[in-house]
């Protein structure tokens, strides 16, 4: 199947026979897909660590709904200036757990101290401080509202993500490939059953700001790993509009026999950007009620757990490690 995949891409290289009498072969007008594997992300969301014991012994954070249910007045909260209100005392998710992620600061990047997760192979220092920050907020829990909205966004055109793997000589084992993640303004094609169809063509975002950096990658037994890389996604979910970006990101995709892939994207997301989407914008349109938080608490949790991009002057970190799961189907990434 993988061979077929390459053949399909390689089809563009054809230019030989087929010409009839008096006609010259028409060059295929769509070169640029040679030796490449492309994907469109068909499923996306937070990657949840497995936590052995009680994840949130102090309970979940309280939003306006919870305050009202408890018969308490909702504390003052200004999402435009979240630190102006007193801290509501939101709990972070501090329990140990395991996660199929990356030790993103293994290279000794300047960060802030934090408690990592354990990898599936027992390795320590797997980074996902975003989950430590939001893991005790109701709407971010597995199966709750945020996961559903984000997952739908990659399919309905609100946040189309393309992965382009180039310089592929062998789609199962190749120790030197180039990987780049792009945003796209196009909507992935969907089938009669609602799934994202494989083998569609999608153009990358015309704005180069949404072209991720080129990264080196390798494929071992059908598992692609690449990074570090920068990724910037365009997001326009309902009326939350902005960017979701990652620095120093790692990508891992296990490519199945039919060409579909599953894996994860792991990287440092700027706290300001995350807060802008989930706090300032979402908070202003009912997100606090739907997800269950106060901006004063969310902002502080993100700041406290941030572990990357340390400001030497203040000593605080401005980005936060995060882990996202990815499902993807093969696609032609038109650059």
């Amino acid at each position: 199947m993988a061979a077929l995949l390459l053949a399909a891409c390689g089809g563009s290289g054809g230019g030989g026979s087929g010409g009839g009498p008096g006609s010259s072969p028409t060059p295929t007008p769509t070169p640029g897909f040679e030796r490449s594997l492309g994907f469109v992300v068909s499923s996306f969301g937070l990657l949840f660590p497995e936590v052995a014991g009680e994840a949130c012994p102090a309970g979940l954070a309280m939003g306006p709904v919870e305050y009202a249910a408890a018969g308490l007045a909702v504390p003052p909260d200004d999402c435009g200036d979240p630190l102006s209100a007193p801290p509501p005392g939101f709990p972070a998710m501090l329990a140990p757990g395991s996660l199929d992620g990356f030790d993103l600061d293994a290279g000794g990047a300047a960060g802030c101290t934090h408690e990592g997760f354990t990898g599936p192979d027992g390795s320590a220092g797997i980074d996902d401080q975003l989950w430590r920050a939001i893991g005790c907020i109701r709407g971010f829990q597995e199966g709750d509202i945020v996961g559903g909205v984000v997952d739908a966004a990659v399919r309905d055109g609100s946040m189309t993500i393309l992965v382009d793997v180039r310089d592929v000589d062998d789609p199962r084992n190749d120790d030197d490939v180039t990987v780049q993640v792009f945003a796209s303004r196009e909507t992935p094609p969907s089938g009669g059953d609602g799934s994202v169809l494989p083998w569609g063509t999608l153009a990358i975002d015309p704005d180069p700001r949404f072209h991720g950096s080129e990264a080196h990658g390798r494929i071992v037994d059908g598992v692609l790993e690449a990074g570090p890389m920068d990724v910037r996604l365009r997001l326009n979910i309902q009326i939350v509009e902005g960017e979701l970006s990652f620095r120093g990101a790692r990508l891992r995709l296990a490519i199945g026999s039919g060409g579909a892939a599953t894996g994860g994207l792991h990287g440092y997301a700027p706290v300001d950007g995350l807060y802008d989407l989930f706090g300032r914008q979402a908070g202003a349109i009912g997100g606090k009620e739907a997800i269950g938080y106060l901006c004063s608490g969310l902002r502080r949790l993100l700041d406290e757990q941030a572990d990357g991009d340390r400001d030497p002057a203040s000593g605080s970190c401005r980005s936060i490690s995060s882990s996202w799961r990815i499902g993807a189907v093969p696609a032609f990434v038109a650059r």
């Binding site: 199947m1 077929l4 053949a7 399909a8 891409c9 390689g10 089809g11 563009s12 290289g13 054809g14 230019g15 030989g16 026979s17 087929g18 009839g20 009498p21 008096g22 006609s23 072969p25 028409t26 060059p27 295929t28 007008p29 769509t30 640029g32 897909f33 196009e186 094609p189 089938g191 009669g192 059953d193 799934s195 169809l197 494989p198 083998w199 569609g200 063509t201 153009a203 032609f332 038109a334």
Partner: protein
Amino acid sequence: MAGSRILVGALLAALALPACGSSGGAGGGPRTTPTPAPSATATPGPTPAPPSTKAGPAAMRRLTAPQYRATIADVLGEDAVAPGRFEPDQRVSGLLAVGSADVSVSPSGLEQYDAMAREVARRALDPDHRDAVVSCSPQSTVDDACASAFLRATARRLLRRPVADDEVSAWTAIAREAASDLGDFHAGLEVALSALLVSPEFLFRIDETEIDPERGGERFTSLSMAHRLSYLLWNSTPDEELLAAGERGELVDPAGLASQVDRLLESDRLDTSVRQLFADAWGFDAIEQGLVRKDPEIFPAFSQEAIRDAEEQTLRVVVDQLLARDGDYRELFTTRRSFMTRPLGILYRVPVRSPEGWEEWLFADDDRRVGVLTHASLLALRSHPGRSSPTLRGKFVREAFLCQDVPPPPGNVDFSMFADDANQKKTTARERLEAHVSNPACAGCHALMDPIGLALENFDGIGVERDTENGAAIDASGALDGDAYADAPGLGAALARHPQLGPCFVETAFRYSVGRNPVAGERDWLEWAQERFADSGFRLRPLLRTIVTSDAFRRASGPREASTATTANAHPDDADAVGAEGSR
């Protein structure tokens, strides 16, 4: 028996069932090596004169749905074309064009025509469009002069003939009564126009004959020639120039005919009719009517948009090869040239840069996609909703490309040999169909169909490429009447080499042109036309010219008589028209 069509069914009857399997019965004739197509600059030698021809009978033909719409667009404007369903056209001997000379109008059909007529008239005469079709300005609610001017001109185009004064008066009287009752001049015209649009002379094309004063016998009148030519070559009503030539009597004269034929053949509108010819011969009406449906769980990539694009893709390849490139008909089965849209790119697994519209595409030398047999349109059309069908695909190739009739299974066939527990567990179609081969009652006919269809098994029920079925590798090898192949491209090449391919197309194009099967008196001419087609490098325009300038097209034995009509023109597969349609 009609023309050169090979009647496997007749052979069956004569030779008993197992004879069905002999490839001699199917292919026939010595294998010939196709002559390479002459280059564009080659000078053809002197053309031998056509043999004498006794043409078949004339019958009126009901407008097909595309012809109805094109006629409305030509006479009353694109915006007057109303959406909606018609009584289905009927396929007789594999062609709607032949069925069009058999069908009448059922009560429910006339109800549909009537509803359509009222909607067309309403659109044509609504305030935004009336000035484009009514050239005069009414002086009052009742204005006979203006009404009759409109009705005379419109009826002439719709009925394809000059209309007599008393006819115009009758239509004008209807318009006058209606305008007066409804208090609106244009509402009056609307009532008259909607009645005109259900007139049998509009719904049917009446081919009229007259005594040929020079040669004796019956020929089509000059007026009838006008719409015979225009519906064949433009798939619509005659334009002003052609209608005028018809009215002046020029189209019974060889020179007058030739000049109009040249004009029609060089027009861009020829595309429309070539598309229609192929859409008819290949059964694309089922796609246009949305009748090709697939199980969304098994084939999520299938959509009506994709299958319509697939039809368009095939027709684009046909028009590109046969008209734009003036190319060899046989290369339709070997060409790697194609066209893509985004939805098709998903089915074909190829990149398509343009978000909208069409792109050229050339399949690689080692690609399995070669020729129209590997197009998603034909593959999906000859499949079941949940899986492919080698038998349907093979039957189609035999019938549509080689003009061979494959009879339906015998009614008393014993299927109990399928009562083999192992058969249900077999993984590939080839293994499942082997049960046919082991039964003499089935083997004969299935040996004609299945090997062809099995060559296309690398394409599933919607035409997506695959290497395996249920995990087992697909073996696409086989032979077409003794010409062995390894895979689908090989089948395409074998079909392109098949000696019956070109002659069959000539016969199909002829049957499409005259709306009936050939009669005995046309057989010699048909053979001659088949040779001319080969001489021309299997090119379409010369073939159409050969047909429309022939006695077989210009003359008739007289009107078709009911007593003999059904048997003289029938093929064993007439059942295609009704009983078997869309069901096997």
